[in-house]
């Protein structure tokens, strides 16, 4: 590994650790950090994403939007009945890209439509859950599992297809810290997961096929574990994942955290992956993310994100950086307007690594 990469990696680790340890300061992931909640407070999944809980839906109506609407007793909680809960997301809008040497491109597009269904034949104990992507294109199952929760609501085990617990569950799957480890909301895996939730701790251990969302082709399995310690104004998590396959072994580690300082919620993550599945030999890959979320007033959020990627730590001068500036406005419950720019900075001989992207998005959810 070259010295430059190590210097950046150490600086990143120090920043993440300092962020998480800044306990003297006052108490998607940034919302959890802002409020001091565990992911499971607002989402059915212990690691976030997907169906929102009743609390999550009430939060979306009363805390997130700039203007609350008096919906009386008709307000949506996600619960169709004691046994059935529904949810969904639809994102669509305009995206534009500018790449040197190519004509600028832009398009209107439905980015994603998702429907979540949870049936609890034994409420609080047994849940059957499905996360179906319904747009664009035909339906595509992303998560489908049965989950048993032990009576005190601390231990659970789920079997089926689900997102693996590894780092901050960001909405943006193109973030370096989601793309490089290859563990995002585009790559669910099939297996079994056990978890433990308490007021301050969230822990998961999963054994899965490790086939990147595709069918299993060998006997190797992926083992993934994550532990998060949550305090009202800060949190620190660590994750590890080892995948053994005929294509090679891949081992990854993540250190991540968040802290709230007044109106700003900070997120940080550092990932390290070693992979011997490359034809040119073993590669060590690293990525980092630092993000500031500033809420100037209720319903508004400005997000500045800086990311760094080293696709091969043994190769000098191949690092990439991405800056994102995104503004999010929630005028009323269950509706969000987003707009922003992402600026890529990579090696000069690769135009794609130096592109600019712009987007305006309407996000409706329930």
């Amino acid at each position: 590994m070259n010295r430059h990469s190590w210097t950046i990696a150490r600086a990143w680790l120090a920043a993440v650790a300092a962020m998480a340890a800044h306990s003297a300061l006052h108490a998607e992931p940034y919302l959890a950090v802002q409020q001091g909640y565990r992911c499971a407070a607002c989402h059915a999944s212990a690691t976030g994403g997907g169906l929102r809980t009743e609390f999550g839906n009430l939060y979306a109506q009363n805390v997130l939007p700039a203007h609350r609407l008096d919906l009386g007793e008709e307000s949506w909680t996600g619960s169709v009945s004691k046994f059935v809960a529904l949810g969904g997301n639809l994102r669509g809008g305009w995206t534009g890209a500018s790449i040197e040497g190519q004509d600028s491109s832009s398009e209107f597009d439905v980015t994603e439509g998702r429907i979540y269904l949870q049936v609890q034949p034994i409420p609080g104990r047994l849940a059957l859950y499905v996360d179906e992507r319904v747009a664009p294109g035909a339906a595509d199952n992303l998560e489908a599992y049965a989950k048993y929760t032990h009576a005190p609501q601390q231990w659970f085990v789920r079997v089926g297809k689900f997102y693996l617990p590894f780092g901050l569950r960001l909405e943006d799957d193109s973030a370096f810290t989601r793309q490089m480890p290859g563990l995002s909301m585009t790559t669910p895996d099939t297996g079994v997961e056990a978890g433990w939730e308490s007021e301050q701790w969230s822990a998961q251990l999963a054994v899965s096929n490790g086939s990147g969302g595709g069918p299993e082709t060998d006997d190797g399995k992926r083992v993934t574990g994550q532990l998060v310690y949550v305090q009202p104004v800060w949190r620190l998590g660590a994750a590890a994942s080892h995948n053994s396959s005929d294509a090679g072994d891949r081992t990854g580690y993540a250190l991540f955290g968040g802290v709230r300082t007044g109106p700003i919620a900070w997120l940080g993550e550092f990932d390290f992956v070693t992979d011997d599945g490359f034809s040119t030999g073993t590669r060590d890959l690293m990525s980092g993310l630092l993000e500031a979320n500033w809420q100037p007033r209720q319903g508004h959020n400005a997000k500045l994100t800086g990311e760094w990627l080293d696709p091969d730590a043994d190769v000098d001068e191949d690092e990439q950086v991405r800056w994102s500036l995104v503004y999010e406005y929630s005028p009323i419950p269950f509706l969000q307007l987003r707009g922003g720019a992402r600026l890529y900075d990579g090696i000069p001989q690769n135009a794609l690594q130096n592109r600019e992207e712009y987007f305006v998005e309407l996000h409706g959810y329930f």
Binding site: Q102, S279, V315, E319
Partner: protein, 265 residues
Amino acid sequence: MGGLALCLLLAGCAGSGEGLDANGRPLDEGGGGTVPLTPDLASIQANVFTPVCAPCHSGAGAPQGLQLDAENSYAALVGVPSSEVPGLLRVEPGEPDSSYLVQKLEGRASVGARMPLGQPALPEATILVIRQWIQDGALPDSAGSAAALSPFAVKAVSASASVIAVAFDRPPDASLVSPATVELRAAASPATSPAIGTVLEVSRHNDSLLLIEPAAPLAPGSYELTLRGSGPVALADWSAGVLDGDGDGRPGGDHVATFDIVEAP
């Protein structure tokens, strides 16, 4: 303080690219570099699979187990059922419409998002070249057959006010004949003058002859015709042999022909 740390951590962190090819790999590793995009696997690998797809689709953690680095892409694509839609082959030789790779790149696959994920869609011209490679049989490597032939070259150019004829030494790949590879401009200041609109057609009677019809008859003056053998998209023969435009005996380089129109039509 956090914002300052953020800026300090990122400032100047992007690599300079020194000693690396266009894919960010060391030059002495080989397999990189810039080559014109033509409908053969080596070119598509260098221009698309390696720089665009392989950053995610490589190594032991490749999504869907699909590795698209140079050593694995052919075996992972051609004749292999898609894991998302097992009824379709990722690449079905001769059938670009039903090849799942093309469907994913064009955003009409029945499952999942358009590829490349989180990036701008590939230019239409790039997808057309991939389609042509599949249409031509999705061969693993055309280097052998191309090397056995002399470089694809221009034999002659003749021009009148209403049509310009370019004779090649063998038939050009018609899918690569486009305004991006054939440009006609006024010769007075070709760098700044706009390209003249043309209709491009390979002759029905002689498939080695390219006919270029200006949108309006050319006025008297000097003109410059550029036939691209370099750049992102280049002219090539049906064996993916890139045009030897500069006449150095090797594929590559632009062929520039200047001619005069001496009288009004």
